[in-house]
């Protein structure tokens, strides 16, 4: 059977702007992926725990409030604590360029800023999965 890509789409933090996250969820679905959508106000603990239970290949998070420097690295830290090293983690939102190197160093594989095309995100995911058959 064809290997399905499973993606957890989450909004960490408190901001309620989920237009982007929902558009991404839909386009990943339309690209044939299984999207587990967890909704607003997710703590890093909830995100990591859900991603383990759901055995996802990818975690995609979006933050527009500016709390990314705190929340994204926290997710990476918790994944590490659980010994999870084969999940691709990507982030998006209103994120200044100068923050991106720090987020990448923390393990966020890619950061998609406003204006990113969903097709680019889909391509990135398909080409950078950490698990392969």
């Amino acid at each position: 059977m064809e290997r399905k890509i499973r993606v957890l789409v989450a909004k960490p933090g408190l901001d309620g702007h989920d237009r982007g996250a929902k558009v991404i969820a839909r386009s990943l679905r339309d690209a044939g992926m299984e999207v587990i959508y967890t909704g607003l106000r997710q703590t890093p603990e909830q995100i990591v725990s859900a991603s383990v239970q759901e055995d996802v290949d990818v975690i995609a998070m979006s933050i527009l409030s500016g709390a990314h420097n705190h929340l994204f690295p926290r997710v990476m830290e918790l994944l590490k604590d659980k010994g999870v090293d084969d999940v691709l983690v990507v982030g998006g939102g209103v994120i200044p360029d100068e923050d991106i190197p720090g987020l990448k160093a923390a393990g966020i594989a890619a950061v998609f800023t406003p204006g990113s095309a969903t097709t680019d995100i889909i391509e990135f995911i398909k080409n950078n999965l950490k698990r392969r058959e």
Partner: protein
């Protein structure tokens, strides 16, 4: 983590990553899963498998969330399988049931897993029954399967669950018709959710009326099977006149409000001395506020106890397993027919039928003989 790192020991020891990966292997129909599943076979059997089904918009996810909370409060470890349909066009899926249950995400006594139907005929696939067995072996006390009540999935859930909760809501209008058309026959416990909304009373009345009619007419339903088992334990009179009078007294007690316990909870009503004449419970809930959840869990657990006490749990599981074996065998036969050498045999037979050398039924007999030699 590699698939090869998944073992029965890790699943049994409560390793969530191993359990989660094993379920992925099941979904992918990975042949390597079989060794682990076989090793897990010796364990489990103790979990109470509860199916939650009903039409879209009935509030099943919120209800499941509240059931999980209540069961956790009773000290039980709970696993949830939330099934959503895959898109027939792209094969993708948005699995959104989890949103309602995310508050349990960090509770180590709760495991939640979203499953897409992935185009399996029958919606709830073999994957789900295999996943249930894994979670059972992993030591969860309750395994809840939530399915959207569309298409075949509702009918499938009766093959997996020990107890099926059929959820209805007011305001869906025509869905009552669908329930009348036979879905009613699959419930063990009946739940009317969003009971604070206009029309809830009417839904309860209609469900009650259907249940009463079924029981009083002696129709075969999912719940009546249990009552028959119960009757076998405490044989009641078979004298038609006695049964008729028992029916009358049940009818009378129903009129007298035998099931009412507050406006919210309609307990099961039994004919005196005739345990096989019982109307199953109808529980009203407002999942959003938690109203009625304790009562619903009580009814689910009462049902489990009745299954166990009558020995019907075993016979229900036996019947389900026999059905599953049948399906499994049919799948194997189908895949055997797909093998190349068989394809040639089939083409050969097809030509023979086309040329009128043999008839269709002789061709089938030939095929069956050829297959059963293996």
């Amino acid at each position: 983590m590699d698939d090869s790192a998944v073992s029965a020991e890790r699943v049994r020891s409560g390793d969530i990553r191993a359990t989660a990966r094993l379920i992925s292997m099941i979904e992918r129909e990975e042949p390597s899963r079989l060794a682990v599943l076989k090793a897990l076979h010796a364990y489990g059997g103790g979990a109470h498998v509860v199916g939650i089904t009903g039409p879209p918009g009935a509030g099943k996810s919120t209800l499941t969330d509240k059931l999980v909370a209540e069961l956790r409060g009773r000290g039980r470890r709970v696993a949830v399988l939330a099934v959503d349909p895959s898109s027939p066009f792209t094969g993708g899926a948005i699995l959104g049931d989890r949103i309602r249950m995310q508050r349990h995400a960090t509770d180590e006594g709760v495991y939640i897993r979203s499953l897409a139907t992935r185009g399996h005929l029958g919606g709830l696939s073999r994957s789900a029954s295999e996943a249930v067995r894994v979670l059972d072996a992993a030591g969860y006390d309750d395994v809840i399967i939530e399915t959207v009540g569309v298409g075949q999935s509702e009918v499938d859930i009766v093959r997996i669950a020990d107890t099926v909760v059929l959820v209805s809501v007011p305001g869906l209008g025509d869905d009552i018709q669908a329930i009348k058309a036979g879905v009613m026959e699959i419930g063990d416990v009946f739940c009317v959710n969003k009971a604070d909304k206009d029309g809830a009373e009417r839904v309860v009345r209609e469900i009650r009326a259907m249940l009463e009619t079924a029981v009083l007419n002696g129709a075969a339903t999912r719940f009546s099977a249990l009552y028959t088992a119960r009757a076998a334990l405490a044989p009641a009179s078979t004298d038609p006149a006695t049964i008729e009078s028992a029916r009358d007294s049940l009818r009378d007690s129903l009129r007298g409000g035998a099931m009412e316990q507050g406006a919210f909870h309609h307990i099961a009503a039994q004919a005196p001395g005739h345990p096989n004449l019982e109307i199953p419970p109808v529980v009203c809930t407002v999942a959003e506020t938690g109203q009625g959840i304790v009562e619903l869990v009580n009814e689910i657990k009462t049902h489990e106890a009745a299954l166990a006490a009558t020995g019907f749990l075993r016979s229900r599981r036996e019947a389900n397993l026999a059905w599953e074996l049948g399906r499994g065998a049919a799948e194997r036969v189908l895949s055997a027919l797909e093998r190349d050498e068989r394809k040639e045999t089939m083409s050969e037979l097809a030509r023979a039928v086309l040329d009128k050398r043999i008839d269709y039924y002789d061709a089938l007999d030939t095929l069956e003989k050829a297959l059963t030699r293996y």
